[in-house]
């Protein structure tokens, strides 16, 4: 059985489906008996959800859009 440290190190790779079959099976076997690492897995999911949340701070403001579209139009006019 792999250690908690090894299991935790694999969690994001597991969620990304980047683990090989053997590594995945070892992790799932560990998760089947370890409540702590199941908590870590759930927390990893929550952090990923936090990162992927859409952001109003990162929305393109109308005046910036106008400037960028003007730049786009202007690019072809320069020799």
């Amino acid at each position: 059985m792999i250690s908690c440290k090894d299991a935790v190190a694999r969690l994001w790779m597991y969620l990304d489906r980047h683990l090989g079959r053997v590594q995945e099976q070892e992790l799932e076997e560990h998760l089947g008996v370890c409540r702590h690492c199941c908590g870590e897995l759930e927390f990893a999911r929550q952090i990923r959800a936090l990162l992927s949340r859409s952001s109003s701070s990162a929305a393109l403001p109308p005046h910036t859009r106008t400037r960028l579209e003007e730049l786009l139009k202007g690019l072809g006019e320069k020799p």
């Binding site: 994001w12 927390f43 990162a58 393109l60 403001p61 579209e69 072809g76 006019e77």
Partner: protein
């Protein structure tokens, strides 16, 4: 004749390829740079570079991918770093946010301490924490978990092997976990239920 004033076919192609991605490019730039002024500047820089490169571009089928390559390359130039910058702090490897929250118990009356901790972070704070990551980890983490690029796509964008990208993502995640904790501590967000924002 007004031949010189009419947009060339290449210019029209370029505009049509890029316009649908302006929102994306700006969002990515804000997350990378941390503020609107620097983000707009970066996007402008990327658009100029992309236009210059557009003529020689063989594969125009995936504009989002090559625009991302151009923008991240402009970003690296700006922060005077590259995908091969100095190594991250070795301490990051030891830090585990899940266990730290359990040990420090910042919300003694809560039965969902981990969610309570993450609830402290609105989108602006998440962007601030991104700024603490070293550039190549920041780029990889944002591309993978905000914009859902695969590791193979990030490897193509960065011109590095997939294994290298997986290592960046691993280190980036550890840095992010530490960054979230340090942000909460330094901004005094963990003083108990009554003082939480």
């Amino acid at each position: 004749m007004a031949v010189t004033e009419a947009p060339s076919a290449a210019q029209t192609d370029f505009e049509q390829s890029v316009r649908p991605h302006l929102d994306y490019l700006y969002g990515l730039a804000v997350r990378l740079c941390g503020n609107p002024t620097a983000a707009e500047d970066l996007v402008q820089d990327a658009l100029v570079r992309a236009f210059r490169a557009f003529g020689g571009l063989r594969n125009r089928q995936h504009p989002r991918l090559w625009l991302t390559r151009v923008l991240t390359s402009a970003f690296y130039d700006r922060v005077r770093a590259g995908p091969d910058g100095p190594p991250a702090r070795s301490l990051d490897e030891e830090f585990d946010l899940f266990d730290t929250i359990v040990q420090e118990d910042p919300f003694p009356y809560s039965d969902r301490v981990h969610l309570d901790f993450l609830d402290l972070f609105d989108d602006a704070r998440v962007i601030e924490v991104f700024q603490g990551l070293i550039p190549r980890h920041r780029v990889a983490l944002i591309l993978a978990y905000v914009y859902r690029f695969t590791a193979a796509e990030i490897a193509e964008i960065a011109g590095r092997p997939v294994g290298t990208v997986l290592a960046w993502l691993h280190r980036g995640r550890k840095q992010m976990e530490r960054g979230l904790w340090e942000y909460a501590v330094s901004h005094r967000l963990l003083t108990g239920g009554t003082n939480r924002p």
